[in-house]
Assembly symmetry: D2
C-alpha cells in the first residue's frame, strides 16, 4: 500500500511523542510537515527529521501534499483545526478532548465530521489501545466477571508536574480536572459498559494545592456517576500524587473484579532496602501509555489506507465531553446534575 | 488486680468469638454466664466452658455476680440491653452499631451512658485496634502524608455469605448496607480525620443479587461524603466479592497515600500455577480482624480494672449512626442529604 | 483436664516470649517457676507473674511440683538439661537445635528421650505451626504442585541485629550460620518432602560483615543439597538484610510452585510516597512467627494432657543437625560432603 | 547517515522477531535478503516484506549488497557463519551463545573477530538492554545496595513449550540447560559484578519431564558458582513452569537487595475471583524481552553507522560458554569443577 503522507499540528510534549513515533516507528507514515508556534521546536524537527515547518497551520494544510493531519494543540483549538482540515479533504487524527465545552465550535466540528464520511476521523483516547485495558475489556465481554456493579477510576498526575501545569493553566483554559483529566476514564467507562450515566454529583478541592484556587482550578475532583440500571462509577482526577502517575481503574462485577494498574510499577524491579519493600513508579502518562500512543496511530494510518472510519468517533468525543461538563457544573454548583 | 467477672449476651458467630477469646486468651476476664435463645448453643458453652446459661438476659444481669457484660445480639436489641445493664451497675461492652436508627431507644441508651460515668462503656468498632489501621493512623498523625484530600473505603463481604445473610435479613432488620456494613468505615474516617461529613449523595443497587430487592436491601451501596473543608470520601459496602472478604481503605494525602489491605491476602502463600500468580484470600472478617477482636476486649477489661472510660464512646456510635442514616436516606430518595 | 504445671528454663528474648505466652494466653498451662542467671530478669518475672525463681536449673526441677519444662537456653546446654529433666520425670519442650553438633551429649540426650517414652518430648521447630507453611504442606500433600523438583529457602536476619549477634557469638558458640539459622529450613525441607539429602556443597562469606571472620562466623552461608531422587535444595542463611527479617521458602513442583513470604510484609499497609510503592517489613522472627510460637506450645501442653508424644521428635532434631553439620564441614573444607 | 543494508540469516521464532523489527521499527536498517531452509518461511517474508530469499547463506553473503548480517540460526552454526560473514567483510550480529561448546570452531570464530577490528561484532545477550536490568545495574554501580554477597537467577520456560522443545532437542543438539538457558544469566552475573566464577557444583534432574532423559537433557539444572572473593551465585534453568516464562534475578547486597521480575506479570491487570487475587503471567521470553530485542538491534545498527565495536563482545560470549560448559561437566560427573 502507499504510505500515508501526514502533517503534525502541534509540538508540545505529546506532539513530539507523536512526531517521533511517526518518523521512526511507523513505516507506513511519511511525515511531510509540522506546525508549531515555537521556533526552537521547529528548528529541532527540521534538523532532526528534515520536514517542512510552518507557523500557520492553514498554510500547512493548504500548501503541503498530505493525506492526513495529527492535531495535538491545546484543546480549545481542536474544533476549528479539525473543521479546516476536513474541509480541505484531509483525514484527521485529533487529540482528546474534542473541545473545552459543548459549544457551537464543537457542534460545527461534529457537522464537519458527519459531512465528510469519506475522510477518516479518529479521536485520541489512546487508553483503548493499552494491552491491560484491552485484556480487561475482553474479560468483561466474555462474561468473566458477570454484570458490572461499580467502577472506580483514578487519573492522578505526579506532583512533580504541578509547576508546569500551573503555568499552563494560568495562560490557558485547561478545561478543568473533569474535562482535562477524567475524560479518559469517562471514555473507558462508556467503552467497558456500553452505558451512559444519567446523573452526577461531583466535588472538587484544592487541599493539596491551594494556589490553584486563584486560577479557578480544582486540584482533585471526585465525580460520582449514576447509571439508569443502578450501576455507579466514581472518578477521581488530580495532580498531587507523590509517587508518580497513578492511573488505575477497577471494575467490580457480580462474579469477580478486574483492577488495572493498582500500583504504577515502572518496570520489574523490586528493591528491598531499609525503607521496606519498594517498587519504583512510573513518573508520567507518556511512560505508561507509550505503546498505546504508538498503536493508536498505527491503527489510524492503516484505517486511512483501508478507507475505514476511525475506531474512536466524534460521537465518543461529544458524549465524553457532555459527561465531563456535567461533572464540572455539579462541582461548581454543589448540586445534582442530570446528564 | 482482680479479675473482671463477665457475662456474654448473645452467642451468634461473633458472640462465640468473643466468648472463646474471653475464656481462653484473656486471663484477666472470668466468664460467669452467657445468654442465648438457642439451647444447642447454650449446651455447647455449658459443656465446654462450664458457665451458667440463661435464656433471659435480665435474669442473667440480675442474678449473676458479674462486673461487666458483652452485648453481642442483633443490633435492634443493643439499646434496651445496654440500658438495663448500666442501670444494674454493670460495665458494658456493646457491639456496633448502637442501634438500627437514631430513635428514642438510642437516645435513651445515650442518656443511660451519660448517667453512669462511673461505669465503663465501650463500643465494638474493633478496627481501631487493627495493627494496620493503627500504623496508618500513626502515619497520618505524624504528618507523613500531609493533609487528607480523599478517602476511599471498601467493606465487601464474600459472596459465600449471601445465603446466610439473606436468611438473616429476611427475618431481621439488618439496618441495610450503610448501617450494617459501611458504619465501620464511617467510624474509621472520623477517627483518621477528626472531621464530620456535612452532606451525602448515596446510591445502591442489587445488580449482583436481584433477590435482595424483595426484602428491601441493597446488595451494594456507594456513599459519597462531603466534608466542610472540601475533603471527600467514598464508601462502598456490599456482599458480592467472589474472592473473599475485601475490607480496604485508602487515604490520599497531599504528600503521600496510605492503602490498607489492597489485597486481602490470607497468609504469606503465593501460588504460581497455570492460573497465573495467585494469592489466596481471606474468607471472612473474623479471620481478618481476629487479633483486633481480641485486643479490643483486652483493652476494655483493663479499662474496667483501672476504672477508665472505654476507648470508643457512645458519642462515636451516635455520630456514625447519624451519618449512616443520612446515606440510607439519600439512597432511598435519590437526593442530596445534609448531615 | 488438669492444668499442666510448668517451669521455664531460660529467659532470653525467646524465653520471655514463651513465658508470657504460657502465663497470659495458654489457659491450660500453669507456670510455677523459672530459671535464669540474670537477677534483673528473675525479678521482673517474679514481680509481674508471681512465680518462683531459680538460678540453679536442677534445683528448679528437683524442688518444684511441675509436670513439664520448657528449655530455652543457649543451644550447648540443651542436651544436659533435657537429660536431667527427663530423668526427673518431667515432660520436655526443648528449643531447636538439639545441640551444637552431633556429639556424645546429643547422643545421650537421644538415649534419654528413647528411655522415657512415657514422657512427652517436643522440639521447637515452630515453623511447622505457621499457617502459611501449613497451607503449603497441605497443597504439596494434595498433589497440587506435582512432584517436587527444587526448593529454595532463605533465612536472613535483619542487619539491625548484627551488633547483638556479634556480642553473643563472641561470648558463645552460636553453632554457625548453618546450625543456628539454616536448621529451620532443613527441618522444613525434610517435613515437606519426606526425603533426606545425600550430599552437599556449602559455601560461606563475610562480605557484608568482615568483622565476623575474627570470631569464626560466616555472615552468609549458601548450602546446595542433593537428594537421591535428583531433587535439589538451596539454603541461604545470613544476618545482613537491610529491610527486615527475610524468611522465604519456595517449592518448585512439576505442576506449580509455592512461595511463602516472598516479601516480609509487616501488615496490610502499602505506602505510596515519593520513594515509590512501599510495603513496610517485619523486623524480626518473633514478629513473623508469634502465632506459631504460641500454637506449638498449646499443642505441646495438649499432648502432655493427652499423654501423647510431641509432634516434632528427637529424631527430627538429630537428622537436621547431621545435615547442618555436613554443610558446616563442606563450607570449612571447600569440598563435597556426603551426608 | 546512510541506512545499514542487512541480511537476516535464520527465520525461526526469534529470526522472525528480528526480521519484523528490522523492517517495521528500525528506520536506519534496510533488509535486503534473508536466508532460511524452509520454503514456506521464505515465501512469507518475500510476499510481506519484498526481500530477496536464499537457501544458501553463503550465496546471500556473496551476492547481496549488504553491510551486515544477523545470524539467528541453531547455535552449532554460529561459528562457521560468523567466520564466513566476517571474512566477506560484513558486520555481524550473532545470537547467543557463540557455540555449543568451546571447540575449535568457536576458537576460529574468536580469531576471525579479532582479525577484523574494522567490523562491528555484537552478541545477542539482549537482557543487557532490558529496562529493569539496566536500572538494576545502575543501582549496583551507584553503590545503592553495597557489596554483592549472593546472586540468584531463574530462567525457566513455560511447560507449554515442552513439546516443541522436545522435538527440537531430539533433532538438534540444544547444548543442554546450562548452555542453552542459563547462559543468559551467566552473562548478566558477569555484567553486574565484573567478576568471574572460579568453581562450580552443578546438578540436574528430569523429575518434571522424565522423557528428556532419553535424549540426554536435564529438565532442570541447578548451578552453584563460587567466586574468588567469596561471592556465591545460584542459577536455575528449566522448562517446567506451569504459570509462564519465569525469568527472575536477585542480587543480595550488603545494604539492600534488588529483585527483577519476581512475578512475571503479563501486564497491569489483577483479577479478584473465586480463585483468589490473580496476576496473569507472561507466556514466553519474546513477550518479556520484546523491547530489549528491539533495542539491541537499534544499538547495533547505530554502532555500525558510527564505526564502533558492538556492546557485547566475543570475549563475553566465550567467557559465558566456558562457565556454562563447566556447569555441564559438573552436572555430568557429579564433581566440583574448576573454571
Amino acid at each position: 500500500m502507499e504510505k500515508v503522507k501526514v502533517g503534525v499540528i502541534g509540538l508540545g510534549r505529546l506532539g513530539m511523542v507523536h512526531m517521533e513515533h511517526l518518523v521512526t516507528q511507523i513505516g507506513e507514515a511519511d511525515v511531510k510537515a509540522v506546525f508549531a508556534l515555537d521556533q526552537a521546536q521547529l528548528d529541532y524537527v527540521k534538523q532532526n527529521f528534515g520536514v517542512a515547518t510552518y507557523t500557520d497551520y492553514k498554510a500547512l494544510i493548504d500548501n503541503e501534499d498530505i493525506d492526513a493531519v495529527f492535531i495535538v494543540t491545546p484543546t480549545g483549538l481542536h474544533p476549528e483545526m479539525t473543521v479546516y482540515a476536513l474541509n480541505a479533504g484531509k483525514h484527521v487524527f485529533c487529540e482528546k478532548p474534542v473541545g473545552l465545552r459543548l459549544d457551537e465550535g464543537v457542534r460545527e466540528m461534529e457537522r464537519a465530521v458527519n459531512d465528510h464520511p469519506e475522510l477518516t476521523f479518529q479521536l485520541g483516547f489512546m487508553r483503548r489501545y493499552d494491552a491491560s485495558y484491552k485484556q480487561a475489556k475482553e474479560l468483561v465481554q466474555a462474561g468473566k466477571i458477570g454484570d458490572i456493579i461499580y467502577i472506580r477510576a483514578y487519573g492522578i498526575d505526579p506532583i512533580s508536574g504541578m509547576e508546569s501545569f500551573t503555568k499552563f493553566a494560568t495562560d490557558n483554559d485547561s478545561g478543568g480536572v473533569f474535562v482535562d483529566m477524567c475524560i479518559h476514564d469517562i471514555d473507558l467507562i462508556r467503552w467497558f459498559t456500553g452505558l451512559e450515566p444519567v446523573e452526577t454529583w461531583s466535588l472538587g478541592n484544592t487541599i493539596a494545592a491551594p494556589h490553584l484556587e486563584r486560577i479557578g482550578e480544582f486540584e482533585t475532583g471526585v465525580a460520582t456517576l449514576r447509571f439508569a440500571n443502578g450501576m455507579v462509577a466514581t472518578l477521581i482526577g488530580g495532580r498531587h500524587a507523590a509517587h508518580g502517575s497513578h492511573v488505575e481503574l477497577e471494575i467490580m462485577g457480580s462474579h469477580g473484579w478486574i483492577r488495572v494498574a493498582q500500583e504504577p510499577e515502572k518496570n520489574f524491579v523490586t528493591l528491598f532496602t531499609d525503607a521496606g519493600v519498594v517498587r519504583p513508579c512510573m513518573q508520567g502518562f507518556p511512560e505508561r501509555f507509550m505503546q498505546a500512543f504508538l498503536d493508536e496511530k498505527k491503527d489510524f494510518i492503516k484505517r486511512v489506507q483501508e478507507k475505514k472510519q476511525g475506531s474512536i468517533t466524534m460521537e465518543d468525543g461529544i458524549r465524553a465531553l457532555v459527561i465531563a461538563d456535567a461533572c464540572k457544573e455539579s462541582a461548581a454548583t454543589g448540586k445534582l446534575v442530570n446528564i
